[in-house]
Amino acid sequence: MRRSSSENLTATDTKRMRNESDKAQLYDRQLRLWQKTGQAALEGSRVCVLGSSALAAEALKNLVLPGIGELVVIDDARVNEQDIKTNFFVRPDDKGKPRAQCIVENLSELNPDVRGSAIVMAPTDVVTASSSEQENATILLDAASLVIACNQPESLVCKISQRCWTSGTPLIVANSAGFLARIRTSVAEHAVIESHVDTKPDLRLMCPFPALRSHVDSINLDTLDSTDLAHVPYIVLIIKALQKFASKHSGNADASGWEGYPSSLKWEEKSELRALIRQLATVKPDEENFEEATNSVMPQCVRYEIPTEIKVILEDPAASVDSNAAAVESQSNMQQINSKFWLLANALRRYVESDYAQGKLPLSGKIPDMKADTSGYIALQRIYKEKAEQDKNELIKHVADVLTASRLPADFISQEEIDIFAKNANLLRLVRTSSVHNEYANGPSDLDMLSMNELLSHYALFRASDAFFSKHVRYPGAPAPSTEQAARSSLTAEDLNKLVESDTSELVGMANELLAKWQPNNHENGGQKNTVSDELAAEFARSGHCELHNVASVCGGVIAQEAIKLITHQYVPGNNIFVFDGVQGRLLSAKV
């Protein structure tokens, strides 16, 4: 039987649509958080993980489920007794098999859309690249959208960090020791357009644009009866009151109030404005819309200013330099996100400086829900939307200029991308963290914050534990890995206790040494010298650097959460270091 080509096309179309609707259903609950754009970024990403212990597997589980594009696990460890007890993604009969392969196989079952591969190779070999296989691994590492290093020694982490820093790839370093865990994120530069930050709506009440002015002028409150008055949106009420305020203070009672309209209010003037609003309510002063109006005076009646975070972006040299087309076009999709951000920021700077914008950002066009009748609300909504559309069209011109200056094709940035950028111009965020290799070489940059946020002790002990490993090739409380199998069986409880005891005191010594190195001026300042507690150090040593599943589960959640933010470029990444203390149930964070 022959089928006509048009029928074939329909069948293919139907299948494609079917797949899309299937995906929409599968990912529905997360699309509510990061929309189609975020999902597309996830599906186009490749995550490279060094290590395959429970911590790595738990983090990966949370990335495979929402559908990252590809995962690569690099590790040469083989499944042992310990893994079978703590790692949910190895099976009882996997003992002796390469662990990276086992977890990739089991994780892949969770989501057939994710391509998974395992490279059975010592993570340390990745950065030395002496054979072709290692070279391949290095290439994989360089092409990753994100690298995660789980329970890897400090020396390797430093090398990986240098590599990632150069290529602009975000890196997450995670270590766990019993009830304690540390998660460090680092990224040279990370731009967030859709930050989903909760801020007060941009309503321009202190600088109403012409369309808003004439809308307010078209409403005569004096002719309204009590019901209609109760349906006037608070935006209109506040502007009316500000007009009254202006005519009162300009000394000319006949003035419309646009003359001398205030651009900001002092504290006591705000109370005066609230009184003026209440006076507008000639009939029933306790209506909801009037209450909304008086409540909005405090947050809304302030001078229009570009938020500090956005100013910093606009003043950044990167927002003033034309891009190098060749360099930008050769970038990966992930890297292009930052490049596009700077092109848009450059256009935004030009826009803000233009006569049209007069120092203001494009309007987002969104107004909050408020007490109003449908027609009044929709009218306002349209006015704000139209202004936002105008602003965007103005911005589009500047984007075109920037693209031309950078010798990039006019469609290098799509209309949709400009649209999202313009809507979020008020919410842009730029994240630059310190690098891990710098931190390891020079100590944490913000010791006070670590101390203030109560994680200095934990931090110092994790660093000391790394140093301990560099020195002894084993973690505190753990027998040397080469003799591990033999040692575990022959070690008596008493031996182990002795080991823990001596390791604890060495660890405390190392941690205090580090602290002293990081705060050389402490004595001069006469300040309290920070020291680590023996108890916490003992907790480290007792753990023997073993993994506890629940800690891996919590931290796997935190790692994946930060990874998703970094990959989707949505939501703002947290501070760059997290410490989880499972005994106390605390997740602390700070900047280093």
Partner: protein, 663 residues
């Protein structure tokens, strides 16, 4: 075998043993449940039961990782338990595909567990488990997540805040009938109209119109409501045309033309409002003929009027066809709105948008309407992983007797905060809580078809003046939820057997002092959990001293509110014991550890009836249930601990106005 050495290493052998012997109930095998079951099975817990009524859906798979595509439509509880069993074959794991509110899960059933984990997504079920755990005196680890937000807390009756100590915001907002049916002003009003009125009337279970004609708004409103009733009736008639070719046209013309025309005729209604306008079927049909391919609809963009029109017809046709086919198979077939049912969603989205266009309200996309109509809460794996991991850590603390170290943890998405998990010590119970500041007693009834409500009232009156006096006074009232069963003015039910009143094992009734002054702050009330009698293992006979009423009352270690304690200390029977008595025997510690006594309240009440009359009585029966646990816990208490427990008990009795009654 997967044994967890780490737990032993880090928490000690005793905790590892307690955890290994504990019987755990996990309510809910969804987002948090899957994570929780995994964590429990890898953390040394061995005896685990999971309960969930739900079956697996495609939209679960982005986070409920124990499920795969091949499991769709199968029981969540079953697949989840099989998955962890496969991982750890030495587990004693079992499941029930059931609603946790079903009456087989009565107070005795809950009592068999040492710890309960709530991994539920709805307030109603969470409330229910909260009160069952209070009644059964089992500690509860409570949890919830929404997007990036999460929360974990520990509930132990009488010692901590319970789930109901503070009112929770309602899950679903309700709207006035007139706003939905006559004067919508927001998209949500149109969506509710499309889903709860139009869809339900057309395809749903034939239910009597929900509108009550007792309007508060006077004559005008009454008139309007009458009209609305008429509208519903007409619509119901149209449903008969289902399957005919002009079915969708008839519906459309009815709701978007005739009904709106009628609304417009009520001139008063539109004096203050912008009037709607009628949608004409023929006009729309002309403007859309052949031009609008459904495939072009983007789920994420607001529907245009034409798109909504085409989608309305297509989805209504499909739903009608399905219902007709279903109706041929069985009588009284109906469709229930399901947000994941594409036809149902399209119908609601199209109808809601058409109504929005008629009333000049903003149009919405299918994607947005799905969330609004389906009360969708965003959900991701990461938050669930963090919350479940925290829950198990709390569970280990509870099992090792370290309740004081437990806490309420909030996971916030604003991770700029120095504490990404905000931690608070467990709060004290709200003294006015109507759920946990009540005494929970178990009422054992041999035959609910015979025992009448009057029997219970008599029995309770007979307790007056004895050590079991419930201190409710002479006049009591009995309610189940919000249903009044008995009070001073209402004795219609006294002759009715419990069964006839819908009461039986698994149900709870509240006894209160029938006294207007007490109000809702009445902490004297007693909550009776109805249960079956405990049977003696040897002869399958009720072992209790069967009274004529055929039931017995077991005051099982109920935390007694302060006001009651005052009255109890004046007990004329002199059952008050001295502090020495408390300290003399290990019994007290034994009792405390088995949960027979609540030490914070400092009052220990043991029903003497059973000890005296029947050596093999129920008190022992209960003891047997908890015996294993008691023994384990006693083993754990070293000399040091016993001393401190004693000291604490002594201090409590000295400072608090409490008494201990020991037989």
């Amino acid at each position: 075998m997967r044994d967890v050495k780490q737990l032993t290493k880090l928490f000690g052998q005793k905790t590892a043993d307690t955890v290994g012997n504990a019987k755990i109930l996990v309510v809910g095998a969804g987002g948090i449940g899957c994570e929780l079951l995994k964590d429990l099975s890898v953390s040394g817990f061995k005896h685990i039961k999971a309960v969930d009524l739900d079956t697996i859906d495609l939209s679960n798979l982005n986070r409920q990782f124990l499920f795969q595509r091949r499991h769709i439509k199968r029981s969540k509880a079953q697949v989840a338990v099989q998955a962890i069993q496969e991982f750890n074959p030495s587990l004693d794991a079992s499941f029930e595909q059931a609603n946790i509110k079903q009456t087989d899960f009565d107070v005795d059933w809950f009592s068999q567990f040492d710890l309960v984990f709530n991994a539920l997504d709805n307030l109603d079920a969470r409330r229910h488990v909260n009160s069952m755990c209070l009644a059964a005196h089992v500690p509860l680890i409570e949890s919830g997540t929404a997007g990036y937000l999460g929360q974990v807390t520990v509930i132990k009756g009488g010692e901590t805040e319970c789930f109901d100590c503070h009112p929770k915001p309602a899950e679903r907002k309700t709207y006035p009938v007139c706003t939905i049916r006559s004067t919508p002003t927001a998209p949500i009003h149109c969506i509710v109209w499309a889903k709860d009125y139009l869809f339900a009337q057309m395809f749903g279970e034939q239910a009597p119109d929900e509108i009550e004609t007792s309007a508060e708004g006077g004559q005008d409103d009454l008139e309007e409501l009458k009209q609305l009733k008429e509208e519903s009736k007409e619509l119901a008639k149209l449903a008969d045309a289902m399957g005919s070719s002009d079915f969708t046209k008839l519906i459309f013309q009815k709701v978007f033309d005739n009904d709106i025309t009628r609304l417009l005729s009520m001139k008063d209604m539109w004096k203050q409002r912008q009037p709607p306008h009628v949608l004409h079927f023929d006009q729309l049909e002309q403007s859309t003929s052949g031009a609008h391919n459904l495939a072009l609809i983007d789920d994420h963009l607001p529907l245009s009027l034409e798109q909504a029109f085409v989608l309305f017809q297509e989805s209504a046709d499909k739903l009608a066809q399905r219902l007709v086919e279903e109706g041929n198979r069985r009588q009284g077939a109906f469709l229930a709105f399901d947000k994941d049912d594409e036809d149902a969603l399209h119908f609601v989205a199209a109808a809601a948008n058409l109504r929005s266009y008629a009333f000049g309200i903003e149009a919405k996309s299918i994607f947005t309407i799905k969330a609004m109509a389906g009360n969708i809460i965003p959900a991701i794996a990461t938050t669930n992983a963090i919350v479940a991991g925290m829950m198990v850590l709390q569970g280990i603390l509870v099992m090792s007797g370290r309740l004081a170290e437990c806490h309420t943890a909030y996971l916030s998405y604003n991770s700029k905060r120095p504490r990404s998990i905000i931690k608070e010590g467990l709060a004290e119970p709200n003294p006015l809580c109507s759920v946990c500041r009540r005494r929970y007693l178990t009422l054992r009834v041999a035959n609910c078809a015979q025992t009448t409500l009057g029997d219970i009232v008599n029995y309770i009156n007979r307790l007056e003046g004895t050590v079991h006096d419930l201190s409710l006074g002479e006049e009591i009232s009995i309610v189940e939820g919000s249903r009044i069963l008995y009070d001073f003015d209402y004795d219609d039910n006294l002759q009715k057997p419990l069964a006839e009143l819908g009461l039986g094992p698994g149900k709870m009734v509240t006894l209160s002092r029938d006294d207007e002054s007490s109000g809702s702050n009445d902490t004297v009330s007693v909550i009776l959990s109805i249960a079956k009698p405990l049977y003696n293992q040897d002869n399958e006979q009720p072992s209790s001293p069967l009274s004529i009423e055929g039931f017995e009352l077991i005051p099982k270690f109920a935390p007694i509110p302060k006001s009651v304690k005052d009255e109890a200390s004046e007990d004329p029977n002199g059952n008050k014991t001295s502090n020495d008595n408390v300290n003399a025997g290990d019994t007290v510690n034994d009792l405390e550890e088995t949960g027979f006594a609540v030490e914070q309240d400092g009052a220990i009440v043991i029903d003497d009836e059973y000890g005296k009359d029947e050596p093999n009585a129920d008190a022992n029966g209960i003891q047997n249930i908890s015996n294993e646990l008691a023994k384990r816990k006693l083993d754990e208490i070293d000399a040091n601990n016993v001393q401190s427990t004693k000291r604490r008990a002594t201090e409590d009795t000295k400072t608090a106005d409490s008494i201990e009654i020991i037989d």
